[in-house]
Symmetry: none
Subunit: 407 residues, 2 copies
């Protein structure tokens, strides 16, 4: 019997509130340079410390040993979806990141403006890294001239610098497609083709991309230096079982950045818009307490400062988070998980595979007798090191949402 089926069979109605609070990229590594402390260990976190006394801790492997996840797989795992089973293409993630509301079946591509010579050879893959403003103008022009290709609607949205996103919204489309990108200069733009050549939906999508090139390239042909564009990560928004059907919970997302709202939307969470600070996010949770069973609250800054390699700022962001935590605790969730979607060690200035620490607090979580929530403490916790996709199941169990298996 498959595990998911077992969980589904045993799932009971929720009687309490569950909250997943994500400190993006909170996990880090202790190094000699920082006195063998991680930012979480160096930070003053009296409110998390108080929770730790009555919580279980552990560490989570986001995808697989040694694999560094992007935000997409990182969050899908936290939401209980195996990132290897539910793959979301880079075009889709990019579109979500720009705040586009994708629908199942939409085909999305990451794109960037480039420079082509008279023979169509790519001479600069980033068109001299044009300004965001120029990119916005070019996208506006393309949007105006190319609204449809075949029977599919075309949605174009600018990103930063030379980057933009193209979405094809039509019927019977599917990815993934090969990149319309030679990935180096000195070559022409290759045609995008269906990765699975036998898939008629992907072949139809590939034809749309080719047709899009035919009508869009002439629109910018006289522009300098951005007289062409490349497309990659072309994939469709996959069908993902809805969170509420899978777990029997009414879910809501309280995030600030579009990417995380997009990922939550992908699994059918309600997006509670408006809050800009973590204090406001917690206030919103209080206001919506009765309306949902599961709250996903996302705090971006530990990751952002980890990416900068800024230890002090990452530490301060964690302290800022901790200072706001009492707002959430005014109506303490029956099950509260505090964790990251992955580690972002300052020393690496980027995401990593190091298992992120997790603290799980409920009336029945048990106490691991740890005084703080830290990476090193989590190593000794009762949850051990486990796949992130199991966190939701532990949260449901702590909410007494599973019937006994067998007599």
């Amino acid at each position: 019997m498959n595990q998911d089926a077992l969980y589904t069979e045993l799932t009971l109605k929720p009687t309490g509130k569950l909250a997943l609070v994500v400190l993006d990229g909170v996990g880090d590594v202790a190094t000699r340079e920082q006195g063998y402390l991680t930012p979480l260990e160096a930070a003053a976190t009296p409110n998390m410390d108080a929770l730790a006394k009555d919580a279980a801790q552990g560490r989570m492997i986001p995808v697989a040993p040694g694999i560094t996840p992007g935000s997409g797989p990182g969050h899908l795992g936290l939401f209980g979806y195996d990132p290897l089973e539910f793959k979301v293409g880079r075009g889709v993630i990019e579109a979500l990141g720009l705040g586009l509301e994708l629908r199942a079946g939409d085909v999305a591509a990451r794109a960037n403006f480039c420079t082509l010579d008279a023979k169509g050879i790519v001479t600069d893959r980033r068109a001299g890294r044009i300004d965001t403003k120029v990119c916005e103008e070019l996208c506006a022009l393309l949007s105006q001239k190319v609204k449809k290709v075949g029977d599919a609607e075309v949605i174009i949205k600018p990103g930063k610098g030379h980057r933009f996103v193209v979405v094809f919204r039509g019927k019977g489309l599917e990815g993934p497609l090969t990149d319309a990108d030679p990935h180096r200069e000195g070559f022409p733009v290759p045609a995008s083709t269906a990765v699975n050549a036998k898939d008629p939906k992907a072949r139809k999508a590939a034809k749309l991309v080719a047709d899009f090139y035919k009508v869009a390239l002439p629109v910018i042909a006289q522009k300098k230096p951005a007289n062409g564009f490349l497309m990659r990560g072309i994939a469709h928004q996959p069908h993902i079982p809805l969170f509420k059907d899978r777990y029997g919970l009414r879910p809501a997302c309280i995030a600030v950045y579009p990417m995380y709202k997009g990922l939550a939307q992908l699994v059918g969470m309600a997006k509670l818009e408006g809050p800009q600070t973590i204090a406001e996010q917690f206030e919103r949770y209080l206001a919506e307490y009765d309306n949902y069973d599961y709250f996903f609250i996302h705090f971006k800054y530990p990751d952002m400062y980890g990416e900068d390699g800024n230890f002090e700022a990452k530490k301060k962001a964690i302290e800022e988070f901790d200072a706001a935590l009492p707002i959430l605790l005014r109506k303490k969730p029956d099950v509260l998980a505090i964790t990251g979607d992955h580690s972002t060690p300052c020393v690496m200035k980027g995401h990593s595979w190091h298992p992120q620490p997790v603290m799980l607090h409920s009336a029945i979580s048990g106490s691991d007798k740890l005084d703080r929530f830290t990476e090193t403490g989590a190593n000794q916790g009762s949850l051990g090191i486990f796949a992130a996709k199991h966190l939701i199941r532990l949260m449901q169990a702590n909410a007494k949402m599973f019937d006994k298996f067998g007599a």
Copy 2:
């Protein structure tokens, strides 16, 4: 998506050096009799202690919980090959252990001389445990008289005591075959047959074994007490993906004992011959530093003394290893893993299933703030308890050899 495929897809070119240093059978259990210390804990290991401060630790399950591996599965796991997926027959392991260079498709059998009565009944399965010298003489005689069977070359190599190995090198051969061994006295030698009766290659191999008996038995029929022989573990050298293709690393083996060289050769490692001591092995590593990306360095003695149940000698072997370690560190590998292929507890006088401790050191391994490398310390490490086959993936991750998964 399958995990191996994911790793392959994300693999980047190596930019540093990786070293796997195996203290064979280093893992042990703490007992009252030894003051609740393992040999690793009782040993003075200042050099490993110094590394521990800046390393991650954990324990590894060689094959599956409770399963005690032989050296074959133990090492295949360390090399990243699931020992349940890549099964190597005992005949092949034995042949490798005797220093035979097998080729893919060779069929190898463990054999031993036995005593038969006039009716062909086995009266002594070990022919009175004849001396190695007698075994060598019998093998030389057989080698001289039986060079081919059918279209296959026959290679015979003596081992210790009554043991020897027979290899059939021909075309279209395959194992496994059933044993030509009644496994007890008082019965005739059964014919060896294909385990999968529908496999024509295995049927051909079984015919070769039968033909070999026909020509080989008369050669020794008048000898006493060894006038017959038994064959078991008859299998072919399997096709195993080459280490360099699987991991994108140029691998080299620096081992003293033939078995470990053979296992390294099985996955396509270069064998750097010559060194006899661990100090010489580390010197050889220094000399070959630029020529390879991955070094497998094997130290046999903790296992050997563990098998003897000699706690003091095992402890001293570990100390001898530690004393030589600074030679390796003259050109410190970018990623260094120190571990065993399994545990060999003195109290058991043999291999065991107890997860072996592992220490992983790199600029980004992070520190688990442990002062020493020990079994008990490893229990508290950030690597947790994991399948040994994942070690290579963690080593690659620490060498920054994986691209990010998803956006």
